[in-house]
Symmetry: C2
Subunit: 280 residues, 2 copies
Protein backbone atom coordinates (compact mmCIF):
# COMPACT_ATOMS: atom_id res chain seq x y z
CA UNK A 1 0.00 0.00 0.00
CA UNK A 2 2.90 2.36 0.63
CA UNK A 3 3.56 3.15 -3.01
CA UNK A 4 -0.14 3.54 -3.72
CA UNK A 5 -0.46 6.07 -0.94
CA UNK A 6 2.53 7.91 -2.22
CA UNK A 7 1.12 7.98 -5.73
CA UNK A 8 -2.16 9.46 -4.59
CA UNK A 9 -0.46 11.98 -2.34
CA UNK A 10 1.82 13.15 -5.08
CA UNK A 11 -0.63 13.36 -7.89
CA UNK A 12 -4.09 14.16 -6.65
CA UNK A 13 -3.82 17.79 -7.64
CA UNK A 14 -2.44 18.88 -4.33
CA UNK A 15 -5.42 17.62 -2.39
CA UNK A 16 -4.45 16.99 1.20
CA UNK A 17 -5.93 14.62 3.68
CA UNK A 18 -6.92 11.96 1.18
CA UNK A 19 -7.44 8.91 3.32
CA UNK A 20 -9.80 6.87 1.17
CA UNK A 21 -8.44 4.78 -1.66
CA UNK A 22 -10.47 3.44 -4.55
CA UNK A 23 -9.06 0.01 -4.04
CA UNK A 24 -8.93 -0.25 -0.31
CA UNK A 25 -11.16 -3.32 -0.35
CA UNK A 26 -8.59 -5.17 -2.42
CA UNK A 27 -6.54 -5.78 0.68
CA UNK A 28 -6.21 -9.40 1.65
CA UNK A 29 -4.30 -12.28 0.21
CA UNK A 30 -3.41 -10.69 -3.11
CA UNK A 31 -2.33 -13.12 -5.78
CA UNK A 32 -2.03 -10.31 -8.25
CA UNK A 33 -0.32 -6.98 -7.96
CA UNK A 34 -2.90 -4.40 -8.83
CA UNK A 35 -1.17 -1.19 -7.79
CA UNK A 36 -1.77 0.30 -11.20
CA UNK A 37 -5.46 0.34 -10.51
CA UNK A 38 -5.01 3.16 -8.03
CA UNK A 39 -3.83 5.54 -10.74
CA UNK A 40 -6.57 7.48 -12.53
CA UNK A 41 -8.96 7.25 -9.56
CA UNK A 42 -12.63 7.09 -10.43
CA UNK A 43 -14.95 9.79 -9.16
CA UNK A 44 -18.48 10.95 -9.86
CA UNK A 45 -19.60 14.29 -11.22
CA UNK A 46 -22.36 15.58 -8.96
CA UNK A 47 -24.75 16.38 -11.81
CA UNK A 48 -25.29 12.63 -12.13
CA UNK A 49 -27.42 12.86 -8.97
CA UNK A 50 -29.70 15.67 -10.18
CA UNK A 51 -32.82 13.94 -8.89
CA UNK A 52 -31.40 12.70 -5.60
CA UNK A 53 -30.58 14.21 -2.24
CA UNK A 54 -27.23 13.81 -0.53
CA UNK A 55 -28.01 10.63 1.46
CA UNK A 56 -29.37 8.94 -1.69
CA UNK A 57 -26.34 10.03 -3.67
CA UNK A 58 -23.97 8.80 -1.00
CA UNK A 59 -25.74 5.45 -0.93
CA UNK A 60 -25.26 5.05 -4.68
CA UNK A 61 -21.61 6.05 -4.49
CA UNK A 62 -21.00 3.54 -1.73
CA UNK A 63 -22.78 0.86 -3.72
CA UNK A 64 -20.39 1.39 -6.65
CA UNK A 65 -17.38 1.83 -4.35
CA UNK A 66 -16.50 5.31 -5.59
CA UNK A 67 -15.06 7.77 -3.09
CA UNK A 68 -14.42 11.03 -4.94
CA UNK A 69 -17.02 13.61 -5.85
CA UNK A 70 -17.21 16.86 -7.71
CA UNK A 71 -20.07 18.52 -5.88
CA UNK A 72 -22.87 20.33 -7.72
CA UNK A 73 -24.76 23.32 -6.35
CA UNK A 74 -28.07 21.52 -5.94
CA UNK A 75 -26.37 19.56 -3.16
CA UNK A 76 -24.47 22.54 -1.82
CA UNK A 77 -25.76 25.98 -2.88
CA UNK A 78 -23.19 28.58 -3.90
CA UNK A 79 -24.34 30.97 -1.20
CA UNK A 80 -24.04 28.44 1.62
CA UNK A 81 -22.63 29.51 4.95
CA UNK A 82 -19.39 27.99 6.19
CA UNK A 83 -21.46 26.11 8.73
CA UNK A 84 -23.69 24.57 6.05
CA UNK A 85 -20.65 23.71 3.93
CA UNK A 86 -18.95 22.00 6.85
CA UNK A 87 -22.09 20.04 7.57
CA UNK A 88 -22.37 18.76 3.98
CA UNK A 89 -18.65 18.00 3.79
CA UNK A 90 -18.99 15.97 6.98
CA UNK A 91 -21.89 14.01 5.48
CA UNK A 92 -19.67 12.95 2.61
CA UNK A 93 -16.57 12.46 4.75
CA UNK A 94 -18.43 10.25 7.19
CA UNK A 95 -19.35 8.07 4.21
CA UNK A 96 -15.74 7.85 3.06
CA UNK A 97 -16.22 10.31 0.21
CA UNK A 98 -13.91 13.22 -0.53
CA UNK A 99 -15.21 16.30 -2.33
CA UNK A 100 -12.35 17.18 -4.67
CA UNK A 101 -13.95 19.91 -6.80
CA UNK A 102 -17.01 22.12 -7.12
CA UNK A 103 -19.05 22.74 -10.25
CA UNK A 104 -20.11 23.10 -12.92
CA UNK A 105 -20.53 26.78 -11.96
CA UNK A 106 -21.70 29.30 -14.56
CA UNK A 107 -20.03 32.71 -14.34
CA UNK A 108 -21.89 35.44 -16.16
CA UNK A 109 -20.99 38.37 -13.90
CA UNK A 110 -17.98 39.47 -11.86
CA UNK A 111 -20.06 38.80 -8.77
CA UNK A 112 -20.61 35.20 -9.80
CA UNK A 113 -16.85 34.78 -10.28
CA UNK A 114 -16.26 36.25 -6.83
CA UNK A 115 -18.89 33.97 -5.36
CA UNK A 116 -17.44 30.86 -7.04
CA UNK A 117 -13.95 31.42 -5.65
CA UNK A 118 -15.24 32.32 -2.22
CA UNK A 119 -17.35 29.16 -2.25
CA UNK A 120 -14.48 26.95 -3.45
CA UNK A 121 -12.26 28.32 -0.71
CA UNK A 122 -14.90 27.62 1.91
CA UNK A 123 -15.37 24.08 0.58
CA UNK A 124 -11.59 23.69 0.61
CA UNK A 125 -11.20 22.31 -2.90
CA UNK A 126 -8.30 23.03 -5.26
CA UNK A 127 -10.47 23.15 -8.41
CA UNK A 128 -13.50 24.98 -9.68
CA UNK A 129 -15.17 23.49 -12.72
CA UNK A 130 -16.66 26.53 -14.38
CA UNK A 131 -18.12 28.16 -17.43
CA UNK A 132 -17.04 31.82 -17.47
CA UNK A 133 -18.34 34.20 -20.09
CA UNK A 134 -15.50 35.10 -22.45
CA UNK A 135 -15.17 38.60 -21.05
CA UNK A 136 -14.77 37.21 -17.54
CA UNK A 137 -11.86 34.92 -18.30
CA UNK A 138 -9.32 37.64 -17.53
CA UNK A 139 -11.04 38.43 -14.25
CA UNK A 140 -11.22 34.71 -13.41
CA UNK A 141 -7.48 34.46 -13.97
CA UNK A 142 -6.92 37.24 -11.41
CA UNK A 143 -9.01 35.25 -8.94
CA UNK A 144 -7.11 32.04 -9.73
CA UNK A 145 -3.91 33.82 -8.76
CA UNK A 146 -5.44 35.45 -5.71
CA UNK A 147 -6.95 32.22 -4.31
CA UNK A 148 -4.47 29.70 -5.76
CA UNK A 149 -7.46 27.66 -6.88
CA UNK A 150 -7.49 26.16 -10.36
CA UNK A 151 -10.24 26.96 -12.84
CA UNK A 152 -11.21 24.10 -15.15
CA UNK A 153 -13.41 25.36 -17.98
CA UNK A 154 -16.05 22.83 -18.93
CA UNK A 155 -16.95 22.25 -22.57
CA UNK A 156 -20.42 21.45 -23.73
CA UNK A 157 -21.32 20.22 -27.22
CA UNK A 158 -22.00 21.76 -30.62
CA UNK A 159 -25.14 23.56 -29.44
CA UNK A 160 -23.24 25.55 -26.82
CA UNK A 161 -22.56 29.22 -27.57
CA UNK A 162 -19.45 29.58 -25.41
CA UNK A 163 -17.63 26.27 -25.35
CA UNK A 164 -19.00 23.94 -28.04
CA UNK A 165 -15.78 21.91 -27.78
CA UNK A 166 -12.69 21.94 -25.55
CA UNK A 167 -10.83 23.92 -28.21
CA UNK A 168 -12.79 27.11 -27.49
CA UNK A 169 -11.75 26.86 -23.86
CA UNK A 170 -8.16 25.85 -24.52
CA UNK A 171 -7.50 28.66 -26.99
CA UNK A 172 -8.60 31.18 -24.38
CA UNK A 173 -6.48 29.86 -21.50
CA UNK A 174 -3.37 28.44 -23.14
CA UNK A 175 -1.33 31.61 -22.70
CA UNK A 176 -2.67 32.38 -19.25
CA UNK A 177 -1.66 31.30 -15.76
CA UNK A 178 -1.01 27.57 -15.69
CA UNK A 179 -3.76 27.11 -13.14
CA UNK A 180 -6.24 27.98 -15.90
CA UNK A 181 -7.30 24.80 -17.67
CA UNK A 182 -10.06 22.44 -18.74
CA UNK A 183 -12.60 20.03 -17.39
CA UNK A 184 -12.74 17.86 -20.48
CA UNK A 185 -16.24 16.49 -20.96
CA UNK A 186 -15.50 13.62 -23.31
CA UNK A 187 -19.11 13.02 -24.32
CA UNK A 188 -19.75 16.61 -25.36
CA UNK A 189 -16.32 16.71 -27.03
CA UNK A 190 -17.14 13.60 -29.03
CA UNK A 191 -20.45 15.10 -30.13
CA UNK A 192 -18.40 18.02 -31.42
CA UNK A 193 -16.28 15.58 -33.40
CA UNK A 194 -13.29 15.81 -31.07
CA UNK A 195 -11.72 12.45 -30.23
CA UNK A 196 -11.17 12.42 -26.44
CA UNK A 197 -7.75 10.76 -26.77
CA UNK A 198 -6.66 13.46 -29.20
CA UNK A 199 -7.94 16.20 -26.92
CA UNK A 200 -6.02 14.73 -23.99
CA UNK A 201 -2.78 14.67 -25.97
CA UNK A 202 -3.37 18.15 -27.33
CA UNK A 203 -4.37 19.87 -24.11
CA UNK A 204 -2.17 17.75 -21.85
CA UNK A 205 -1.19 19.50 -18.66
CA UNK A 206 -4.08 21.91 -18.94
CA UNK A 207 -6.64 19.20 -18.23
CA UNK A 208 -7.55 19.38 -14.55
CA UNK A 209 -10.75 17.36 -14.43
CA UNK A 210 -12.79 14.95 -16.55
CA UNK A 211 -16.45 14.25 -17.12
CA UNK A 212 -16.54 10.73 -18.43
CA UNK A 213 -19.47 9.32 -20.36
CA UNK A 214 -20.18 7.70 -23.68
CA UNK A 215 -22.37 8.90 -26.55
CA UNK A 216 -24.22 7.13 -29.32
CA UNK A 217 -23.00 9.36 -32.14
CA UNK A 218 -20.27 11.85 -32.92
CA UNK A 219 -22.96 14.35 -33.82
CA UNK A 220 -24.94 17.05 -32.12
CA UNK A 221 -27.86 14.72 -31.47
CA UNK A 222 -25.72 11.95 -30.01
CA UNK A 223 -27.27 10.63 -26.81
CA UNK A 224 -25.68 9.84 -23.47
CA UNK A 225 -25.25 6.11 -22.94
CA UNK A 226 -23.49 3.74 -20.55
CA UNK A 227 -19.69 3.92 -20.96
CA UNK A 228 -18.60 1.26 -23.39
CA UNK A 229 -21.85 1.07 -25.32
CA UNK A 230 -21.23 4.11 -27.45
CA UNK A 231 -18.58 5.23 -29.89
CA UNK A 232 -15.83 6.61 -27.69
CA UNK A 233 -12.52 4.79 -27.91
CA UNK A 234 -11.86 4.33 -24.20
CA UNK A 235 -8.64 2.33 -24.46
CA UNK A 236 -7.10 5.15 -26.53
CA UNK A 237 -8.47 7.73 -24.09
CA UNK A 238 -7.00 6.03 -21.02
CA UNK A 239 -3.68 5.45 -22.74
CA UNK A 240 -3.58 9.15 -23.60
CA UNK A 241 -4.27 10.05 -19.95
CA UNK A 242 -1.30 7.94 -18.92
CA UNK A 243 0.86 9.47 -21.63
CA UNK A 244 0.29 12.99 -20.31
CA UNK A 245 0.52 11.76 -16.70
CA UNK A 246 -2.94 13.06 -15.96
CA UNK A 247 -2.86 13.65 -12.21
CA UNK A 248 -6.55 14.13 -11.48
CA UNK A 249 -9.76 12.23 -11.01
CA UNK A 250 -11.79 10.43 -13.65
CA UNK A 251 -15.33 11.38 -12.84
CA UNK A 252 -18.18 9.49 -14.38
CA UNK A 253 -21.07 11.76 -15.32
CA UNK A 254 -24.04 9.61 -16.19
CA UNK A 255 -26.86 11.44 -17.92
CA UNK A 256 -29.13 8.65 -19.14
CA UNK A 257 -31.96 7.24 -16.99
CA UNK A 258 -31.35 10.11 -14.61
CA UNK A 259 -34.28 9.13 -12.41
CA UNK A 260 -32.95 5.58 -12.01
CA UNK A 261 -29.24 5.95 -12.70
CA UNK A 262 -27.62 3.36 -10.43
CA UNK A 263 -27.35 0.45 -12.91
CA UNK A 264 -25.92 2.75 -15.58
CA UNK A 265 -23.52 4.36 -13.14
CA UNK A 266 -22.40 0.91 -12.01
CA UNK A 267 -21.90 -0.34 -15.56
CA UNK A 268 -19.96 2.81 -16.48
CA UNK A 269 -17.77 2.65 -13.38
CA UNK A 270 -17.10 -1.05 -13.97
CA UNK A 271 -16.31 -0.46 -17.63
CA UNK A 272 -13.90 2.36 -16.91
CA UNK A 273 -12.11 0.31 -14.26
CA UNK A 274 -11.90 -2.58 -16.72
CA UNK A 275 -10.42 -0.31 -19.38
CA UNK A 276 -7.88 0.97 -16.87
CA UNK A 277 -6.80 -2.49 -15.80
CA UNK A 278 -6.94 -3.90 -19.30
CA UNK A 279 -4.62 -1.19 -20.61
CA UNK A 280 -2.33 -1.01 -17.57
CA UNK B 1 -20.66 -5.62 -39.26
CA UNK B 2 -20.00 -8.36 -41.81
CA UNK B 3 -16.90 -9.74 -40.14
CA UNK B 4 -18.50 -9.53 -36.73
CA UNK B 5 -21.44 -11.61 -37.92
CA UNK B 6 -19.10 -14.11 -39.42
CA UNK B 7 -17.13 -14.33 -36.22
CA UNK B 8 -20.18 -15.07 -34.14
CA UNK B 9 -21.50 -17.57 -36.63
CA UNK B 10 -18.25 -19.43 -36.75
CA UNK B 11 -17.43 -19.51 -33.10
CA UNK B 12 -20.53 -19.53 -30.98
CA UNK B 13 -20.31 -23.22 -30.27
CA UNK B 14 -22.31 -24.19 -33.29
CA UNK B 15 -25.36 -22.32 -32.08
CA UNK B 16 -27.59 -21.52 -35.01
CA UNK B 17 -30.01 -18.70 -35.42
CA UNK B 18 -28.04 -16.19 -33.40
CA UNK B 19 -29.43 -12.88 -34.52
CA UNK B 20 -28.66 -10.71 -31.54
CA UNK B 21 -25.20 -9.21 -31.21
CA UNK B 22 -23.80 -7.93 -27.98
CA UNK B 23 -22.81 -4.72 -29.66
CA UNK B 24 -25.70 -4.09 -31.98
CA UNK B 25 -26.32 -0.69 -30.45
CA UNK B 26 -22.87 0.42 -31.47
CA UNK B 27 -24.08 1.00 -35.00
CA UNK B 28 -23.93 4.58 -36.11
CA UNK B 29 -21.17 6.89 -37.19
CA UNK B 30 -18.29 4.87 -35.83
CA UNK B 31 -15.12 6.81 -35.33
CA UNK B 32 -13.48 3.76 -33.87
CA UNK B 33 -13.32 0.20 -35.09
CA UNK B 34 -14.59 -1.96 -32.26
CA UNK B 35 -14.99 -5.31 -34.01
CA UNK B 36 -12.96 -7.03 -31.34
CA UNK B 37 -15.63 -6.32 -28.81
CA UNK B 38 -17.89 -8.94 -30.36
CA UNK B 39 -15.49 -11.74 -29.48
CA UNK B 40 -15.97 -13.31 -26.05
CA UNK B 41 -19.65 -12.38 -25.88
CA UNK B 42 -20.99 -11.67 -22.42
CA UNK B 43 -23.82 -13.78 -21.05
CA UNK B 44 -25.43 -14.35 -17.68
CA UNK B 45 -25.59 -17.55 -15.68
CA UNK B 46 -29.20 -18.10 -14.65
CA UNK B 47 -28.38 -18.73 -10.99
CA UNK B 48 -27.75 -14.99 -10.71
CA UNK B 49 -31.53 -14.53 -10.80
CA UNK B 50 -32.36 -16.98 -7.98
CA UNK B 51 -34.84 -14.60 -6.38
CA UNK B 52 -36.50 -13.34 -9.57
CA UNK B 53 -39.00 -14.64 -12.04
CA UNK B 54 -38.42 -14.68 -15.78
CA UNK B 55 -39.89 -11.25 -16.60
CA UNK B 56 -37.82 -9.64 -13.84
CA UNK B 57 -34.70 -11.45 -15.02
CA UNK B 58 -35.29 -10.41 -18.61
CA UNK B 59 -35.73 -6.82 -17.54
CA UNK B 60 -32.38 -6.87 -15.76
CA UNK B 61 -30.65 -8.47 -18.74
CA UNK B 62 -32.07 -5.86 -21.06
CA UNK B 63 -30.97 -3.12 -18.71
CA UNK B 64 -27.36 -4.34 -18.88
CA UNK B 65 -27.61 -5.09 -22.61
CA UNK B 66 -26.75 -8.78 -22.28
CA UNK B 67 -28.39 -11.20 -24.68
CA UNK B 68 -27.15 -14.69 -23.84
CA UNK B 69 -28.35 -16.83 -20.97
CA UNK B 70 -27.54 -20.15 -19.43
CA UNK B 71 -30.95 -21.09 -18.03
CA UNK B 72 -31.36 -22.52 -14.54
CA UNK B 73 -34.06 -24.99 -13.54
CA UNK B 74 -35.93 -22.61 -11.25
CA UNK B 75 -36.87 -20.73 -14.42
CA UNK B 76 -37.44 -23.85 -16.49
CA UNK B 77 -37.92 -27.09 -14.52
CA UNK B 78 -36.12 -30.18 -15.78
CA UNK B 79 -39.39 -32.08 -16.20
CA UNK B 80 -41.03 -29.37 -18.31
CA UNK B 81 -43.14 -30.35 -21.30
CA UNK B 82 -42.02 -29.30 -24.77
CA UNK B 83 -44.90 -26.84 -24.74
CA UNK B 84 -43.72 -25.20 -21.52
CA UNK B 85 -40.15 -25.11 -22.82
CA UNK B 86 -41.22 -23.45 -26.05
CA UNK B 87 -43.21 -20.90 -24.09
CA UNK B 88 -40.24 -19.96 -21.89
CA UNK B 89 -37.86 -19.89 -24.87
CA UNK B 90 -40.25 -17.54 -26.63
CA UNK B 91 -40.31 -15.25 -23.60
CA UNK B 92 -36.55 -14.89 -23.81
CA UNK B 93 -36.44 -14.76 -27.60
CA UNK B 94 -39.05 -12.01 -27.72
CA UNK B 95 -36.77 -10.02 -25.44
CA UNK B 96 -33.78 -10.57 -27.72
CA UNK B 97 -32.19 -13.16 -25.43
CA UNK B 98 -30.82 -16.48 -26.61
CA UNK B 99 -30.67 -19.44 -24.22
CA UNK B 100 -27.32 -21.02 -25.10
CA UNK B 101 -27.00 -23.62 -22.33
CA UNK B 102 -28.86 -25.26 -19.47
CA UNK B 103 -27.62 -25.83 -15.93
CA UNK B 104 -26.10 -26.24 -13.50
CA UNK B 105 -27.79 -29.67 -13.39
CA UNK B 106 -26.83 -32.17 -10.70
CA UNK B 107 -26.70 -35.79 -11.88
CA UNK B 108 -26.79 -38.31 -9.08
CA UNK B 109 -28.63 -41.12 -10.87
CA UNK B 110 -28.79 -42.54 -14.39
CA UNK B 111 -32.31 -41.21 -14.58
CA UNK B 112 -31.14 -37.69 -13.85
CA UNK B 113 -28.55 -38.00 -16.64
CA UNK B 114 -31.28 -39.20 -19.00
CA UNK B 115 -33.52 -36.36 -17.93
CA UNK B 116 -30.79 -33.74 -18.40
CA UNK B 117 -30.04 -34.77 -21.97
CA UNK B 118 -33.70 -35.09 -22.86
CA UNK B 119 -34.29 -31.63 -21.41
CA UNK B 120 -31.31 -30.09 -23.23
CA UNK B 121 -32.52 -31.56 -26.50
CA UNK B 122 -35.99 -30.13 -25.96
CA UNK B 123 -34.53 -26.72 -25.10
CA UNK B 124 -32.36 -27.01 -28.20
CA UNK B 125 -29.05 -26.08 -26.60
CA UNK B 126 -25.65 -27.51 -27.50
CA UNK B 127 -24.33 -27.57 -23.91
CA UNK B 128 -25.35 -28.94 -20.55
CA UNK B 129 -23.57 -27.48 -17.56
CA UNK B 130 -23.63 -30.35 -15.12
CA UNK B 131 -22.28 -31.99 -12.02
CA UNK B 132 -22.31 -35.76 -12.55
CA UNK B 133 -21.37 -38.12 -9.76
CA UNK B 134 -18.03 -39.72 -10.59
CA UNK B 135 -19.62 -43.08 -11.37
CA UNK B 136 -21.98 -41.46 -13.86
CA UNK B 137 -19.29 -39.80 -15.98
CA UNK B 138 -19.01 -42.82 -18.26
CA UNK B 139 -22.76 -42.99 -18.69
CA UNK B 140 -22.85 -39.24 -19.37
CA UNK B 141 -20.26 -39.71 -22.10
CA UNK B 142 -22.52 -42.26 -23.78
CA UNK B 143 -25.32 -39.70 -23.71
CA UNK B 144 -23.01 -36.97 -25.07
CA UNK B 145 -22.32 -39.19 -28.08
CA UNK B 146 -25.95 -40.21 -28.49
CA UNK B 147 -27.34 -36.64 -28.35
CA UNK B 148 -24.31 -34.77 -29.72
CA UNK B 149 -24.71 -32.37 -26.82
CA UNK B 150 -21.65 -31.23 -24.91
CA UNK B 151 -21.33 -31.77 -21.16
CA UNK B 152 -19.50 -29.02 -19.29
CA UNK B 153 -18.68 -30.14 -15.76
CA UNK B 154 -18.93 -27.29 -13.29
CA UNK B 155 -16.41 -26.91 -10.48
CA UNK B 156 -17.27 -25.62 -7.08
CA UNK B 157 -14.75 -24.60 -4.44
CA UNK B 158 -12.66 -26.30 -1.75
CA UNK B 159 -15.72 -27.39 0.25
CA UNK B 160 -17.13 -29.43 -2.65
CA UNK B 161 -16.81 -33.21 -2.41
CA UNK B 162 -16.86 -33.93 -6.17
CA UNK B 163 -15.27 -30.98 -7.95
CA UNK B 164 -13.45 -28.73 -5.48
CA UNK B 165 -11.48 -27.29 -8.41
CA UNK B 166 -11.55 -27.64 -12.21
CA UNK B 167 -8.73 -30.18 -11.99
CA UNK B 168 -10.97 -32.89 -10.55
CA UNK B 169 -13.28 -32.48 -13.53
CA UNK B 170 -10.55 -32.20 -16.13
CA UNK B 171 -8.69 -35.30 -14.97
CA UNK B 172 -11.88 -37.32 -15.39
CA UNK B 173 -12.76 -36.13 -18.89
CA UNK B 174 -9.42 -35.43 -20.57
CA UNK B 175 -9.22 -38.85 -22.20
CA UNK B 176 -12.90 -39.04 -23.07
CA UNK B 177 -14.97 -37.81 -26.02
CA UNK B 178 -13.95 -34.28 -26.92
CA UNK B 179 -17.48 -33.08 -26.23
CA UNK B 180 -16.80 -33.78 -22.52
CA UNK B 181 -15.40 -30.64 -20.92
CA UNK B 182 -15.66 -27.97 -18.27
CA UNK B 183 -17.71 -25.01 -17.23
CA UNK B 184 -14.93 -23.15 -15.49
CA UNK B 185 -16.23 -21.24 -12.50
CA UNK B 186 -13.40 -18.79 -11.99
CA UNK B 187 -14.52 -17.67 -8.54
CA UNK B 188 -14.68 -21.15 -7.09
CA UNK B 189 -11.44 -22.02 -8.89
CA UNK B 190 -9.72 -19.02 -7.32
CA UNK B 191 -10.97 -20.02 -3.88
CA UNK B 192 -9.32 -23.36 -4.52
CA UNK B 193 -6.08 -21.54 -5.29
CA UNK B 194 -6.32 -22.08 -9.04
CA UNK B 195 -5.50 -18.98 -11.09
CA UNK B 196 -8.23 -18.67 -13.76
CA UNK B 197 -5.74 -17.69 -16.48
CA UNK B 198 -3.67 -20.76 -15.69
CA UNK B 199 -6.73 -23.01 -15.75
CA UNK B 200 -7.73 -21.62 -19.14
CA UNK B 201 -4.30 -22.33 -20.60
CA UNK B 202 -4.17 -25.77 -19.03
CA UNK B 203 -7.65 -26.96 -19.95
CA UNK B 204 -7.84 -25.06 -23.25
CA UNK B 205 -10.19 -26.64 -25.73
CA UNK B 206 -12.03 -28.51 -23.02
CA UNK B 207 -13.54 -25.33 -21.61
CA UNK B 208 -17.06 -24.99 -23.01
CA UNK B 209 -18.58 -22.44 -20.67
CA UNK B 210 -17.58 -19.92 -18.01
CA UNK B 211 -19.05 -18.65 -14.78
CA UNK B 212 -17.40 -15.30 -14.26
CA UNK B 213 -17.22 -13.58 -10.90
CA UNK B 214 -14.67 -12.19 -8.53
CA UNK B 215 -13.81 -13.24 -4.98
CA UNK B 216 -12.30 -11.45 -2.03
CA UNK B 217 -9.74 -14.11 -1.15
CA UNK B 218 -8.04 -17.12 -2.70
CA UNK B 219 -9.26 -19.16 0.23
CA UNK B 220 -12.25 -21.30 1.07
CA UNK B 221 -13.99 -18.42 2.83
CA UNK B 222 -13.47 -15.95 0.00
CA UNK B 223 -16.68 -14.08 -0.72
CA UNK B 224 -18.32 -13.26 -4.04
CA UNK B 225 -17.82 -9.63 -5.03
CA UNK B 226 -18.31 -7.39 -8.06
CA UNK B 227 -15.89 -8.31 -10.86
CA UNK B 228 -12.83 -6.10 -10.57
CA UNK B 229 -13.07 -5.54 -6.83
CA UNK B 230 -11.58 -8.85 -5.83
CA UNK B 231 -8.32 -10.64 -6.42
CA UNK B 232 -8.79 -12.29 -9.80
CA UNK B 233 -6.42 -11.10 -12.50
CA UNK B 234 -8.96 -10.43 -15.25
CA UNK B 235 -6.55 -9.07 -17.89
CA UNK B 236 -4.54 -12.30 -17.65
CA UNK B 237 -7.75 -14.35 -17.73
CA UNK B 238 -9.10 -12.65 -20.86
CA UNK B 239 -5.72 -12.84 -22.60
CA UNK B 240 -5.65 -16.57 -21.85
CA UNK B 241 -9.14 -16.97 -23.33
CA UNK B 242 -7.91 -15.35 -26.53
CA UNK B 243 -4.79 -17.48 -26.53
CA UNK B 244 -6.83 -20.69 -26.55
CA UNK B 245 -9.38 -19.19 -28.96
CA UNK B 246 -12.16 -19.77 -26.47
CA UNK B 247 -15.24 -19.97 -28.68
CA UNK B 248 -18.01 -19.72 -26.08
CA UNK B 249 -19.84 -17.24 -23.92
CA UNK B 250 -18.53 -15.39 -20.91
CA UNK B 251 -21.35 -15.61 -18.43
CA UNK B 252 -21.36 -13.41 -15.41
CA UNK B 253 -22.62 -15.21 -12.32
CA UNK B 254 -23.22 -12.65 -9.61
CA UNK B 255 -23.74 -14.09 -6.16
CA UNK B 256 -23.52 -11.07 -3.88
CA UNK B 257 -26.58 -8.97 -2.97
CA UNK B 258 -28.70 -11.67 -4.59
CA UNK B 259 -31.95 -9.97 -3.59
CA UNK B 260 -30.88 -6.70 -5.23
CA UNK B 261 -28.29 -7.78 -7.78
CA UNK B 262 -28.74 -5.32 -10.65
CA UNK B 263 -26.06 -2.76 -9.69
CA UNK B 264 -23.52 -5.52 -9.08
CA UNK B 265 -24.43 -7.30 -12.30
CA UNK B 266 -24.09 -4.02 -14.17
CA UNK B 267 -20.72 -3.22 -12.63
CA UNK B 268 -19.46 -6.74 -13.36
CA UNK B 269 -20.69 -6.68 -16.96
CA UNK B 270 -19.17 -3.25 -17.51
CA UNK B 271 -15.88 -4.30 -15.95
CA UNK B 272 -15.62 -7.43 -18.03
CA UNK B 273 -16.38 -5.49 -21.23
CA UNK B 274 -13.75 -2.94 -20.22
CA UNK B 275 -11.16 -5.68 -19.65
CA UNK B 276 -12.01 -7.16 -23.05
CA UNK B 277 -11.63 -3.87 -24.86
CA UNK B 278 -8.64 -2.79 -22.83
CA UNK B 279 -6.75 -5.97 -23.66
CA UNK B 280 -7.95 -6.28 -27.28
Amino acid sequence: MASRRKFIRNTALGLTGVTIFPSINRAGSLFVEKENASALPVGIAGYTFLHFDIPQSIQMMQRVDVHFMSVKDFHLPLNSSQEKIDEVKKQFQDAGITIYAVGVIYMRTKESVDQAFDYAKKVGVPIIVGVPDYDLIGYSEKKVKEYNIKLAIHNHGPEDKLYPSPKEAYERIKNRDERMGLCLDIGHAMRAGVEPAKAVKEYGKRIFDLHIKDVTKAEKDGQAIEAGRGIINFPAFVKALRKVNYPGYCSIEFEKDMKDPLPGIAESVGYFKGIKEGTA
